[in-house]
């Protein structure tokens, strides 16, 4: 069960898949997340954590070109974002609580959408497309539901349909927005197994999540976003250490200044405090291996 992809999978010398240097993303002229410097290499499973409104969704949508890139440098597979056109290499799994149920659509029909960018305007799914659709359904464990109407599936199963749709496009990295949010514990377990299977195959993943617990065995790296900036970047083990250290600091701080407990009120243990020790240069991964 423990498919932990370690730092070894992302050895030095490999070209990063995603590379951000002081990147700024937002809507229109309003910056939501700023000064993001981050490299994601092949085989890494990165959990992007942060409270609501911290800018983590804005960050991943920015990478997909769904909002405005306002500053800094962003390279996707070594190509500056402005010139990047090979969008199928980025497999997007959006945050959806339900799939549109306005018309009938089978699981296969939804997953087939993932193959569209590979087809010409007049083309129709061929044998290769069918094989990749079947394989994607197989990976998310929905091969037995392929011909069912998606609206009859549970919330967790619909998430897996969206993951299969992204996989069918044969992306080089999966970018997922809250894949486990809002589904019951059993479905979350199945989703975690699906992600573990993908991680074991060496799939690179960037997962925006609230629920680190469900994915603890899968992620190889944790990036924390708070108030529009990166607050932490390192291994899960370092993350636990940093959390503990910060808690100690807050406690010590509280001990000396009884009046000033504003830091504690900002969710103790979560590394989102603007004045926390982790605001200093985020720990750079890659150095440690």
């Amino acid at each position: 069960m423990l498919h932990v992809t370690t730092g070894a999978a992302s050895g030095p010398g490999r070209e990063p898949i995603l590379s951000l240097r002081s990147a700024v993303f937002g809507y229109a002229d309003r910056a939501v997340v700023a000064d993001v410097t981050l490299d994601v290499r092949q085989g890494e499973v990165v959990a992007l954590l942060g409270p609501n409104g911290s800018g983590k969704s804005t960050l991943v949508k920015g990478l997909l070109g769904l909002n405005s890139h306002l500053g800094g440098e962003v390279e996707l597979f070594g190509t500056p974002m402005r010139q990047f056109r090979d969008f199928t290499r980025l497999g997007y799994v959006p945050q959806r609580h339900t799939l549109s149920a306005s018309v009938r659509a089978t699981v296969t029909e939804i997953v087939a959408i993932g193959r569209l960018p590979h087809q010409s305007w007049w083309g129709r799914p061929g044998r290769t497309d069918q094989r990749l659709i079947d394989r994607a359904l197989d990976l998310v464990g929905l091969e037995d539901r392929a011909r069912e109407d998606v609206s009859t599936l549970s919330g967790g199963q619909q998430r897996r349909v969206l993951i299969a749709r992204a996989l069918a496009a044969e992306p080089d990295v999966l970018i997922m927005d809250e894949p486990t949010a809002g589904v019951d514990a059993a479905s979350q377990q199945v989703l975690a197994e699906v992600l573990a299977r993908l991680a074991a195959q060496g799939t690179t993943m960037l997962i925006v999540t609230h629920e680190l617990e469900a994915l603890r065995d899968i992620v190889s790296r944790i990036v924390l976003v708070g108030e529009g900036h990166l607050r932490f970047d390192g291994t899960p083990a370092d993350f636990v250490l940093a959390q503990r250290r910060q808690q100690d600091l807050i406690l010590a701080h509280e001990h000396h200044h009884h009046d000033d407990d504003s830091d504690v009120s900002q969710a103790p243990g979560v590394l989102s405090t603007p004045h926390g020790p982790l605001e200093q240069p985020a720990q750079k991964r890659g150095v440690e291996s």
Partner: protein, 356 residues
């Protein structure tokens, strides 16, 4: 009433085809019956069922300008409807709440302008207006038919070609955008196809009822089909039956064609909804839910999988669980063994329910 129409159709077909105007009307009906539901399914999918109605309103202003200035009303209507389509899409894309009000102003402005201009035209009568609003089979001229035929073929071909992309965009616009699809352009093309369909259908169905032929066959098809692909086929079949049947019926009953077509379509929809609800009741009486368990069956979940007709059963403590709409049904192995081919009847079960 349906069988009645069919009988008279068969009996009186030669007589019907003796008339030039009826041959034209039936051909136009066939084209409209194919094109309207094909475009309409994407409007249903995007929850824009009433947008065609609004385009019809604006097209009336175009017709009025054509009648008033003595130019071809079909062309002026086409220009007005396409302009409206582009404007609607631009307003919608901006996504403001005031957009809804802007659309209402445009739609009512269109119909008001149309009525006022037509009333000032020397060459028109109130009957003329009614013909545009509700359809009149006698009004399709040879020249019109050619224009309609060309436009209808363009609409059907374009919609068929872009069908997978229209489906993808209507299903999940954000995902489509992320994969690099030209979402705005596709939405604009769909809006223009809708406008052209409105104008093509104007003579047969009428501007006030055209939206019904785009939507109602799809509403019925959604009840009957199990996938998007089959739903489109059913919708086109229902659309053709309604439009051709309606035109034929209107010939004998001397009724406006548009109203007759829509009544046939709604009749089919009602039959479909009664039929499916009766079927659902019968099926639910025969189907028994398995005990609730958090474990989700899948190939390789540990429970042996058995192919069973169009689905897969899982052996679970001696009884069979079949996935059904977010829960599991009990499928009796003994019934199953006897009637392996008749998967429907295997739903009957006596298996006791216990928790695992």
């Amino acid at each position: 009433m349906n069988t009645l129409t069919t009988l008279t159709t068969l009996g009186g077909l030669p007589e019907l085809l003796d008339y030039d105007f009826m041959r034209r009307a039936l051909l136009a009906a066939l084209l409209v019956g194919i094109a309207a539901p094909m475009v309409g399914v994407f409007l249903v999918q995007r929850r824009l069922s009433l947008i065609g109605d609004g385009m019809g309103h604006v097209a009336l202003a175009g017709v009025a300008v054509g009648v008033f200035t003595d130019t071809a009303p079909v062309l002026t209507a086409l220009v007005a409807a396409v302009l409206a389509a582009v404007l609607i899409e631009l307003i919608r894309a901006r996504g403001r709440t005031s957009g809804d009000v802007a659309l209402a102003v445009m739609f009512y402005g269109g119909i008001a302008l149309g009525v006022v201009i037509i009333s000032k035209s020397t060459s028109s009568t109130p009957a003329n207006l009614t013909a545009y609003l509700f359809g009149a089979i006698t009004t399709t001229s040879n020249g019109d038919l050619w224009v309609f035929a060309v436009l209808a073929v363009v609409v059907v071909a374009t919609t068929w070609l872009l069908r997978p992309r229209f489906f993808a965009v209507a299903n999940d616009e954000e995902y489509a955008r992320a994969t690099g699809m030209h979402v705005t352009a596709l939405n604009l093309v769909l809006a223009i196809l809708t406008a052209v369909t409105v104008v093509v259908s104007m003579r047969i169905v009428g501007l006030l009822l055209i939206s019904a032929l785009m939507i109602v066959p799809n509403a019925a098809a959604q009840l009957l089909a199990g996938s998007f692909r089959t739903a489109i086929r059913y919708a086109v079949a229902i659309g053709v039956i309604s439009s051709v049947g309606g035109v034929t019926g209107s010939f004998y009953a001397e009724t406006p064609s548009g109203g007759t077509i829509v009544i046939v379509a709604i009749g089919i929809f009602l039959l479909a909804s009664i039929g499916t609800s009766v079927r659902a009741r019968v099926v639910s009486r025969r189907h028994q839910r398995a005990e609730h368990h958090p474990h989700e069956h899948g190939l390789g979940c540990g429970h042996p999988a058995v192919a069973h007709g169009d689905h897969v059963d899982y052996l679970h403590d001696g009884h069979r669980h079949a996935p059904h709409a977010g829960h599991y049904d009990e499928h009796d192995p003994r019934v199953h063994a006897q009637t392996a081919d008749e998967s429907e009847t295997a739903a009957e079960t006596t298996a006791e329910t216990r928790s695992s």
